[in-house]
């Protein structure tokens, strides 16, 4: 309840900010920043689609590149018929999306379940921080795809390998952010806890974790972004999912469907990120992370 009030206040203050700007810059309420931005967006989109349509019709593009209208038509068809199943090479995009999301959900959840507690431990103990930092720094920059052969060899199963790749590549941002957040809890909060004589456990659960929560959530957000990037790449070498859909359409040399898949991947990524952005705001309480 209290949280709801906070977010309401935030939107209120945003609205009043915009009002201020409006009265500043122009007289008409219809020409504020957001309306102008939306106008520019629509204009540039129309320009892009128009140029594309023209270029494709005039054969200025590579042979086989579809027109904008054809691509939109395909997008409409795939999104209105998302769930059909005519075998693994002719699967509705809805099914493929769910398969990808399921892999991400499993791998990402496992990664978070490891990364958050481990990050808390590493953040609390300066010794653990220094001891484990070399592993993290060494493994963090490794490309997710570098793990793929190893995963396939160990698990001999594409499904498990997909989950493994997600886990191993999405663990690091959450781990480092959690450890950083926990290690950098304001000493004042800890002083309060000490002067009250709070136990170590109470301090960890009531002070340190809530204080580090904005960092933890932004780590989770980055990890989610990485998971979504990685799954598409990994699935090109696995059997199903959105990544495989693209790979399959490449084998069919049918470009409109590749474009449709790119659009849907982007849209789903955007939605996932927005969910985490909202969650970040929810735990911030006026703090900037």
């Amino acid at each position: 309840m209290a949280f709801k009030g906070t977010t309401n206040d935030m939107t209120l203050s945003n609205a009043s900010l915009n009002k201020l700007k409006v009265s500043d810059s122009s007289q008409s309420p219809w020409l504020n920043e957001n309306v102008k931005a939306a106008g520019l967006f629509l204009f540039s989109l129309a320009l892009f689609l128009g140029a594309w349509e023209l270029a494709a019709n005039m054969n200025w593009l590579t042979k086989g590149m579809p027109t904008a209208s054809k691509t939109i038509e395909e997008l409409w068809w795939w999104s209105t018929n998302p769930f059909f199943d005519n075998g693994p090479n002719d699967l509705g995009i809805g099914w493929n999306l769910l398969i990808s999301l399921r892999r991400v959900a499993i791998g990402y959840t496992l990664a978070s379940l490891i990364a958050v507690p481990l990050g808390i431990v590493i953040g609390i103990s300066p010794i653990a921080y220094k001891a484990f930092n070399p592993y993290i720094q060494l493994l963090k920059p490794v490309s997710p795809l570098a793990w793929l052969p190893l995963g396939l060899y160990i698990f001999r199963d594409s499904e498990l390998t997909g989950v493994f790749i997600i886990l191993i590549s999405s663990i690091w941002p959450t781990l480092t952010n959690t450890a950083f957040g926990v290690a950098n809890v304001s000493p004042e909060y800890l002083d309060v806890s000490k002067t009250l004589g709070a136990s170590k456990l109470r301090t960890i659960f009531k002070i340190i974790i809530p204080a580090a929560l904005p960092n933890i959530v932004s780590g989770l957000r980055i990890s989610m972004g990485i998971s979504w990037l990685v799954i598409v790449a990994a699935e090109m070498l696995l059997g199903t999912g959105l990544g495989y859909f693209i790979w399959n359409e490449w084998n069919n040399l049918y470009i409109p469907n590749i474009l449709v898949a790119i659009f849907i991947i982007g849209l789903v990524g955007l939605i996932l990120d927005s969910v985490f952005a909202a969650f970040e705001k929810f735990v911030a309480f006026g703090r900037q992370s």
């Binding site: 309840m1 209290a2 009030g5 906070t6 206040d9 304001s186 004042e188 909060y189 002083d191 309060v192 806890s193 000490k194 002067t195 009250l196 004589g197 709070a198 109470r202 009531k206 002070i207 809530p210 204080a211 929560l213 735990v283 309480f285 006026g286 703090r287």
Partner: protein, 312 residues
């Protein structure tokens, strides 16, 4: 042994009422030799911050010398008095307060609270922080509840709720219980800080420049509020401050410290103004201006010495 004295202060009730009214006065005199009057006793306390001279520091060129912040301070603080500690910047005022709070180790000497040496932080001392130190994710009520629950884990919920309510009322924040710190002004946040410190019912209240982060108007207003609250509770308070007017308005005694490093107590002023005090009329007291001038002179001299030392 000395703590057995309450038995003496309550003699048999079979005396006539006229006797009872007279009892209190002479008995306090009898008490004095057995119970030391000081509630907090600082004995020869020195604080040295150890410098870094080890090989690693030398290699990374981050060596530092030992730094004596305060040296051989002895100070007694009686119960139910409001004591301010004032001194030039960097004189170790906050270091001293942190040692009393138990947040900072004592290099040598000892601090006694009710004759018990202070070994670490504890809820017998309530702390008000300069930057409020409220938990941003807790509402006003939750911040206070956290403190009380930590100190009194077995308190029945009804009593807990009552104490929280009382303390919110005491600092004048009724109606803002559900608000979070970022929705409050600086003055309101410090009210929460004060309510939180008082809610655990500490023996001593420690305030580290409690109004330092506030604008002048809010500061004046909050000072009056603290004076009002102090009149109600008469708790022992030790307050660090930079402000002469603030110290004069609130304190019974003002401890003036010399400049650091190796800061010491220079002088202790008694503030004789009657209570309750009012910021508008306090300067009409005959002693006000001489006290103020004396403090100004002291602070000016010490600050000048600090500046001079920095130039050299």
């Amino acid at each position: 042994m000395s703590l057995a004295s309450p038995k003496f202060t309550r003699p048999s009730l079979s005396h006539s009422t006229s006797d009872l009214t007279h009892d209190a006065v002479p008995l306090q005199h009898i008490d004095e030799p057995t119970v030391p009057s000081a509630q907090l006793s600082i004995k020869n306390v020195t604080k040295v911050f150890q410098g870094k001279q080890d090989l690693f520091s030398k290699l990374s060129r981050k060596t530092s010398r030992d730094f004596t912040a305060i040296e051989d301070i002895t100070l007694d603080i009686e119960p139910n008095t409001f004591v301010s500690i004032i001194g030039p910047s960097g004189c170790g005022k906050s270091t001293l307060l942190n040692m009393i709070a138990g947040l900072s180790d004592i290099s040598s000497g000892e601090i006694f609270l009710n004759n018990q040496p202070i070994k670490g932080p504890g809820p017998d001392r309530g702390m008000v922080f300069q930057n409020y130190a409220l938990m941003p994710w807790m509402s006003v009520e939750e911040n206070i509840r956290f403190a009380v629950e930590t100190v009194y884990p077995k308190m029945p919920p009804k009593q807990l709720t009552r104490i929280i309510k009382e303390n919110i009322q005491l600092v004048g924040l009724t109606g803002a219980e559900k608000k979070h710190p970022h929705e409050l002004s600086g003055g309101m946040r410090q009210r929460v800080g004060i309510a939180r410190a008082l809610a655990i019912n500490p023996q001593i209240l420690l305030m580290d420049e409690p109004f330092g982060a506030l604008d002048a108007l809010t500061r004046g207003f909050l000072q009056s509020e603290v004076e009002r609250i102090w009149e109600q509770q008469r708790k022992t308070v030790i307050m660090i401050t930079h402000s002469i007017e603030e110290a004069l308005l609130l304190s019974d005694r003002i401890v003036m410290m010399t400049k650091g490093p190796a800061a010491q107590v220079n002088e202790i002023l008694e503030v004789p103004f009657p209570r309750p005090r009012n910021r508008e009329t306090i300067d009409q007291h005959p002693a006000y201006h001489s006290l103020k001038t004396e403090m100004e002179r002291h602070l000016f001299r010490e600050t000048q010495a600090v500046e001079a030392a920095r130039i050299r």
